[in-house]
């Protein structure tokens, strides 16, 4: 694996103006993409209608109602999900020192999904507010299993294969549950491939406190992560509590990806691809890496969701499938470029 050469931090601090403007450009692009996202769908809407719906809402206009009632919600979900997954990916790659880490590839998403399916099938009377909790439980369980399987030495290949084994395990167990409960299969099969729908806005309400907390806390970790980037021993000698840092990182990943799974099902590869895209723009410094990843993650998911609705119109493909088709080739390119 290649080590990148990093410029000292005093240089990067002076350059933060260009980073700020870069972030601004990204925001603008994201805004444009959001408009496109609102305009496409089963019925195409022109931009004026959307503008009116957002600024001067007239509930009697049916087109404006579509925007306000369903598309706006879907957009919000896509933005949140994308940003959360991207952040989870950055943190995961940072604490595992592994450029190929991704909550989807490592089985964390499928662990969360299995727990959610199990809770839906076995405890149907339970309030849906508890779904994220089950997702966290599953994500934690899967993360612990992957860590136990991959051992302590930093070996990308072993970590990924442990993730594949765990994913297979949870996927099969989910399949068994669905075979036992045939109606469950019909109900859940959309959700299981990572779907974003308008109805998810309600689910977003269950998870946004967790997500907000996780994002804020991850910015607290920035300084420790910068030190950790130089190596575990160096970080320890600089006074970073490495165990605590790794644990916090893991908790963050679990909360972020668990929340996403509870809302939209397992969506893979966003956490893998976005950090690499962000790193093309930001060489080091986790503050900006986080900011850019959040923006790029939201952008990638909005674009994927647009594609999901455009490709097979009037049908919709699930967003998770689109991200897999975008992400897997990036993963392969990374492997071919970096591994020897």
């Amino acid at each position: 694996m290649m080590m990148e050469v990093h410029s000292p931090s005093y240089i990067t601090q002076r350059l933060s103006l260009s980073r700020l403007s870069g972030a601004f450009v990204l925001c603008v692009v994201l805004l444009l993409a959001s408009f496109v996202h609102l305009s496409v769908g089963a019925k195409s809407l022109d931009w004026m209608t959307i503008w009116h719906a957002l600024t001067a809402y007239d509930p009697s206009d049916l087109d404006q109602a579509i925007v306000r009632e369903s598309r706006q919600a879907r957009l919000l979900v896509a933005l949140m999900v994308g940003a959360a997954l991207a952040l989870a990916g950055v943190i995961m790659q940072a604490i595992s020192s592994n450029p190929l880490a991704d909550p989807g590839l490592l089985g964390i998403n499928s662990g969360a999904a299995f727990f959610v399916v199990a809770s839906l099938l076995f405890l149907p009377s339970l309030s849906h507010h508890y779904l994220p909790v089950f997702a966290f439980l599953g994500a934690t369980f899967a993360a612990l299993l992957v860590m136990a399987l991959s051992g302590s030495q930093q070996n990308s290949e072993r970590l990924i294969l442990a993730g594949v084994a765990i994913t297979a395990l949870f996927a099969s167990m989910t399949a068994i549950l669905l075979l036992i409960d045939q109606q469950g299969l019909d109900k859940l099969r959309h959700w299981l491939t990572g779907a974003i729908g308008a109805s998810d806005l309600k689910k977003l309400e269950w998870v946004y406190p967790y997500l907000l907390g996780a994002v804020l806390y991850s910015f607290v970790l920035v300084r420790s992560l910068n030190a950790f980037h130089l190596g575990e021993r160096v970080a320890a000698s600089l006074g970073v509590n490495v165990m605590l840092l790794k644990l916090s990182g893991l908790v963050l990943v679990v909360i972020l990806s668990g929340s996403v799974v509870a809302v939209a099902g397992p969506i893979g590869f966003v956490g893998l691809v976005v950090p690499h895209m962000a790193r093309l723009l930001i060489r080091n410094g986790y503050v900006w890496l986080f900011v850019y990843s959040l923006l790029l993650g939201a952008l990638l998911l909005v674009l994927s969701d647009i594609a999901a609705r455009m490709i097979l119109r009037p049908y919709e493909i699930n967003t998770g499938i689109v991200t897999a088709f975008v992400g897997a080739p990036v993963f392969i390119a990374l492997v071919l470029g970096k591994m020897r």
Binding site: L105, L149, I160, L161, M173, I321, A324, A328, I332, M339
Partner: protein, 352 residues
């Protein structure tokens, strides 16, 4: 007795000074042990089902059919036995493929699924079940699935070795392609007609429902030829485990041996996928169990893994059709449930 049996000193067994081979006494003992185990599992499996028999009855039906009532003989010989043979053969094939994959990549977590055969076969199968039903006659579906598996495996090999072969790349490119294909499979599962999807899912989960003797004969052919060739390459595999450089300097031509062995294991995997669907965990776990008895001595490891793989699938299939009766769980899924906890404990131990 015990000292001889478990002495690490290999015995030289042979017919003459030219034709002979080395084996540890313990390896021979474990081979015998698992053959006996397989026979017992067979009898138990033949006795188990909606019409319950005693193990002794199934013994007489299998070895002395004339003495038993015709109806029973028919149930066992026409329904249960072919299914069990298919289970055992598929388990053995996958276990051998798993040994090859783990030894070539020197990674304990590699499995035959990684080179894309299962994903390719599943995707092909779903295309012809869900999107284009009745384009291909049902009889040819397994062959088509096999072809799909082969094509995907070849693609992964070409892609990962274009810039020089490395085991790490092979495995990780396999992961990438596999996850792309499974996204495609998921898409079909999500949007397909629920009836068609259900039948495809049953097959994908590794179900041996309705296996005929015909399929068993075909599977024997597909197991014996590649399996024997792999077993005869046990010395190459012994050396490959020591590292590519060591193997090369001892005269193993990696550039020919590795693709050859991979090709054979792809053949084994795709044949078993065509017969029984995806039995993901066998190829991963059977070699591990076998390695506890004979570590990396491939001369013993290959047949022992095959036996253990056969035992596992027979066990999984029997449990799957009896434990939750009348509900039939596919063998592959049962195996995951049974095998996964063991696997995790095993890997935890290996770490230390």
């Amino acid at each position: 007795m015990k000292a001889v049996l478990f002495s690490p000193r290999p015995l030289r067994l042979g017919f003459s000074s030219k034709v002979n081979f080395h084996a540890r006494a313990s390896d021979l003992f474990w081979l015998m042990f698992f053959i006996a185990m397989l026979v017992f599992l067979f009898l138990w499996s033949a006795a188990t089902g909606s019409y319950q028999l005693s193990v002794w009855d199934s013994w007489s039906i299998v070895f002395d059919p004339a003495s038993m009532p015709d109806r029973l003989v028919q149930v066992i010989w026409e329904f249960r036995l072919p299914r069990m043979f298919a289970a055992a053969l598929c388990g053995a094939a996958l276990a051998i493929a798993g040994v090859v994959l783990q030894s070539i990549t020197r990674n304990a977590l590699a499995s035959p699924g990684l080179i894309g055969v299962e994903a390719g076969a599943s995707a092909t199968m779903l295309v012809f079940v869900v999107i284009l039903p009745s384009v291909i006659p049902i009889v040819f579906l397994p062959v088509t699935a096999m072809l799909g598996g082969f094509i995907v495996a070849t693609f992964i090999w070409v892609l990962s070795s274009a810039a020089g072969y490395s085991p790490v790349r092979l495995v990780l490119v396999g992961v990438g392609i596999t996850s792309m294909l499974s996204a495609f499979t998921e898409m079909l599962i999500t949007y397909g007609d629920i009836e068609l999807v259900e039948s495809a899912l049953m097959w994908l989960g590794g179900s041996l429902y309705q296996t005929s003797w015909q399929q068993v004969y075909v599977m024997v052919f597909w197991l014996v030829i590649p399996g024997t060739l792999i077993w005869l390459s046990f010395r190459q595999l012994n050396l490959l485990v020591l590292g590519d450089k060591v193997a090369f300097s001892k005269g193993v031509d990696n550039r020919k041996t590795v693709p050859f062995l991979l090709f054979l294991s792809v053949a084994l995997t795709s044949a078993s996928v065509a017969t029984a669907g995806t039995l993901t965990f066998v190829g991963l776990i059977a070699p591990h169990i076998a390695r506890r008895f004979c570590s990396n001595r491939h001369g013993a490891l290959i047949p022992l893994s095959a036996l253990i793989g056969a035992c596992l699938v027979v066990l999984g299939d029997t449990l799957g059709r009896s434990a939750f009766a009348p509900l039939q769980l596919p063998a592959g899924l049962v195996l995951v449930l049974v095998g996964a906890p063991y696997f995790i404990i095993l890997m935890g131990r290996l770490k230390r």
